[in-house]
């Protein structure tokens, strides 16, 4: 990099944060209250509800991502709606949290779902769980809770969690007797189409999920999803438990990417306490995280093989994945829930004696991944089944907020490990590249994941090598966070960006814990991939985003589909349509 280039980049870097702040100050005037910089380049700004829409409009136009939208219950102060805007794909760590206070009685705020698709599910989630009304939401049905969830009178009894729902019983929502399953609302025009129930039990997924697919012949016209089958109330449970017990709870959010949840939680709490963990712990975390990515991508390869009927690939991938699990068992004591990452470091050291075995098994896994690349890349039937289906263009991916390998397969270079480094991913610890592919179809998602597995092997090698020269300390003692401390942190789960937000109230139990998982975002883009494809391709398209409904289960529905002419609409078009309506 020449001097002039460095200088220009410096200017640009300076300009993003400054530009946004300047614009907000100008727009909000007296309502602009900058609270603090909670972490490096993460700003909290407080304002009033009427500015929510213009801010969202500006942030999305400025190329920002709505990382999450959440509400926290502030007791007598009412509800606090938070809009988390991330700019870290443009500049490292940059992050804005816009906060709005709502009264406890009749909490209402304008919905920003018509502006950005990324807010749609989050708003419905908060309507479900906290009863905040987002006015003019295009699709205010229940997201997590069953459609037949009891209305106000009954729901207030349920253990302290403010679960009242204020909905008009419009066409969206049919209330029936409790315990009876109410299918999704359908207009009479759709009756002539064949409707196929997929799920909640279906061989397509390991987890349960309910899709309702409308097909004409073999072609998918529309997709409707009902989620919430895996809703376990983890965030609520976390708000009832001691800080030291939560890592084990959040690991059990997902059985495939368990350590990355614990790491995200511990990172967030450590950021809140402002403590630095020892280098050795960083390397150990990296090794476990990358092994996890390796086993996740291998199992994905196997499941994807099964989805296109390649049972042999499934068997081979699972057979070789066992070696990763053996390593896990040796290093942590359990095959699936490792329980090794803990506040302030890790619980268990990787001793010198383990290193030869790690290297040996890693060599084996790397060889087999290379073998699968050769096999899959040259297999005519695999190519025929994956190429040119499930297209997700770069603009759609950006609008809908795809993350992780799904976004990277659409040629969007977005990776938390490089944009928001944690553990030992920053350049001073390990060096590696972000893998992207410009195919935008299922095939490129295969390519990205397989190549990423090789990168993971490389990172583990580097970590193991450099871990030898660190001191033996693996854990520092954490203390309790002070009142009002808050932190937000991200990790790159095998499926994409995982986001945690925690707020303390001074006790040993956190006040707010908010989790946004990667599949939350990737599920949102599913209908855009599915519509216009054939039913036989549905499994592999759904499988191609590596859905993890346990992590999060959400839902989407697209209205206004012309039954006789199907076309993929951009999110922006949809948003415009909503605005007109």
């Amino acid at each position: 990099m020449t001097d002039s280039e460095a200088a220009t980049s410096k200017v640009e870097k300076f300009s993003i944060v400054d530009e946004i702040k300047l614009f907000l100050k100008e727009m909000l005037k007296d309502n602009y209250i900058e609270e603090k910089e909670i972490q490096d380049k993460k700003y909290v700004i407080r304002t009033t509800p009427e500015y929510v829409k213009p801010i969202a409009d500006y942030m999305i136009r400025r190329d920002g991502r709505l990382v999450h939208l959440t509400v926290s219950d502030e007791g007598v102060h009412g509800f606090e709606v938070q809009y988390h805007y991330g700019f870290d794909h443009l500049e490292t760590n940059t992050h804005f949290i816009i906060k709005v206070r709502l009264p406890r009685e009749n909490p209402e705020v304008p919905s920003i779902a018509p502006i950005t698709w990324q807010a749609s599910w989050a708003e419905r989630e908060m309507m479900d769980l906290l009863g905040v009304t987002f006015t003019d939401h295009p699709d205010p049905r229940h997201l997590f809770l069953p459609y037949e969830w009891p209305e106000e009178a009954e729901s207030e009894k349920i253990d302290g969690f403010s679960l009242y729902t204020k909905r008009d019983k419009s066409a969206y929502y049919i209330r029936k007797d409790l315990g009876k399953w109410v299918p999704l609302a359908l207009s009479p025009a759709d009756a002539k189409l064949t409707l196929l129930p997929i799920g909640p039990y279906h061989p397509m997924f390991i987890e349960s999920e309910y899709f309702r697919v409308r097909v004409e012949g073999d072609e998918i016209v529309d997709v409707d999803m009902k989620t919430g089958f895996n809703h376990r109330g983890v965030m609520r449970l976390a708000e009832q438990r001691h800080y030291a017990r939560i890592p084990f709870l959040v690991e059990r959010v997902c059985g495939i990417c368990s350590t990355t949840h614990a790491t995200a939680y511990c990172n967030t709490v450590e950021a809140m306490l402002d403590i630095e963990i020892p280098d050795r712990a960083k390397y150990i975390r990296t090794i476990i995280l990358e092994l996890e990515r390796l086993h996740s991508h291998l199992i994905w390869l196997g499941v994807a093989g099964d989805l296109i009927g390649f049972k042999t690939l499934f068997m081979w991938a699972l057979r070789d994945r066992e070696h990763v699990l053996d390593l896990f068992e040796k290093l942590t004591g359990n095959r699936v829930h490792h329980d090794i990452v803990y506040l302030g470091g890790v619980r268990k050291d990787i001793s010198e004696a383990h290193i030869p075995e790690i290297i040996r098994r890693l060599d084996f896994i790397e060889d087999s991944v290379k073998k699968y690349i050769d096999i899959a890349f040259d297999h005519p039937v695999v190519k025929a089944r994956t190429m040119d289906i499930g297209k997700l263009t770069l603009s759609t991916a950006k609008d809908a907020g795809a993350v992780g390998p799904t976004a990277r397969a659409s040629d969007w270079k977005i990776d938390v490990r490089s944009s928001n480094p944690y553990a030992a991913y920053s350049p001073e610890y390990t060096t590696w590249d972000v893998i992207t592919d410009s195919g935008c179809d299922v095939w490129s998602r295969v390519v990205v994941r397989l190549k990423e597995a090789l990168v993971s092997c490389d990172i583990i090698r580097q970590s193991v090598e450099r871990m030898k020269s660190t001191s033996a300390e693996i854990r520092v003692k954490p203390h309790l966070p002070e009142e009002g401390a808050e932190a937000a942190n991200k990790t790159e789960a095998p499926r994409g960006e995982l986001y945690y937000y925690i707020k303390s109230n001074g006790t040993n139990i956190p006040h707010t814990v908010r989790i946004r998982t990667p599949s939350y975002r990737n599920d949102a883009v599913l209908p855009f991939m599915l519509r216009g494809q054939t039913l036989s391709d549905a499994p592999i398209i759904i499988g191609s985003i590596d859905p993890c409904f346990s992590c999060t289960d959400r839902m989407i529905r697209i209205e206004d589909v012309k039954t006789n002419q199907v076309r993929l609409e951009r999110i922006g078009d949809l948003a415009r349509k909503y605005r007109r309506a």
Binding site: T312, D326, N334
Partner: protein, 202 residues
């Protein structure tokens, strides 16, 4: 195209030669599974030292301090003080095998074994699901509230005396005899009058 096909067939041939399948319910637990050969006869896969299997409780070692209860992730371990006894109820059906109890137990009375075949039929069969045992408690001499388990009292009063310097040893023995059997509330009330506030020693 051809290269991939050849690789595929080669891999299929190799896989058919080196079968790794275990003879799981039968087989010999001693044979190392990792050497693949036809009909290897091994029973188990990788079972390493640190495997977190079913926790084993040693009633002799347990001092009854209930540190395990306070750290238990899934509320597997529960205590209840009834009639001068502290009753431990351990519901292994809830256990998530995280090993925090093992980490925090001061007396090493809990060990996670490598036993993992826990399938049982019927809700109450075997002693697996519920382990129950009790510790005697010392009751407060004044108000009758529980103070601490007898064993914990013995062990820690010894340790306190041992760890203190020569200078304070006699004094502390006397103090423990005086105030050790009072509950927290009563002790606090009497602390200054008895002249044995802990600050004195440190």
């Amino acid at each position: 195209m051809v290269k991939g096909k050849i690789k595929l067939l080669k891999e299929a041939l190799e896989s058919s030669k080196s079968i790794q399948t275990l003879d799981y319910p039968g087989g010999d637990p001693q044979i190392d599974y990792s050497k693949p050969r036809f009909g290897s006869g091994a029973k188990y896969s990788h079972i390493c030292e640190g495997l977190r299997g079913v926790p084993q409780y040693s009633e002799e070692d347990c001092c009854g301090c209930a540190a395990c209860e306070s750290v238990c992730t899934a509320n597997t371990i529960k205590t209840e003080d009834v009639n001068g006894k502290r009753i431990f109820t351990i519901d292994l059906g809830r256990c998530v095998f995280c090993g925090r109890c093992e980490e925090e137990c001061p007396e090493d009375a809990i060990k996670l074994t490598s036993r993992f075949e826990l399938a049982y039929t019927g809700p109450d069969s075997q002693n697996l699901e519920k382990v129950k045992f009790e510790r005697d408690l010392i009751l407060c001499e004044r108000c009758g509230n529980p103070v601490a388990p007898v064993k914990q009292y013995e062990i820690y009063s010894e340790k306190v005396v041992k760890n203190l310097g020569e200078k304070w040893r006699e004094q502390s023995k006397e103090d423990i005899e005086k105030a050790g059997k009072l509950c927290r509330e009563c002790r606090r009330r009497n602390a200054y009058t008895l002249n044995l506030h802990t600050r004195k020693y440190y």
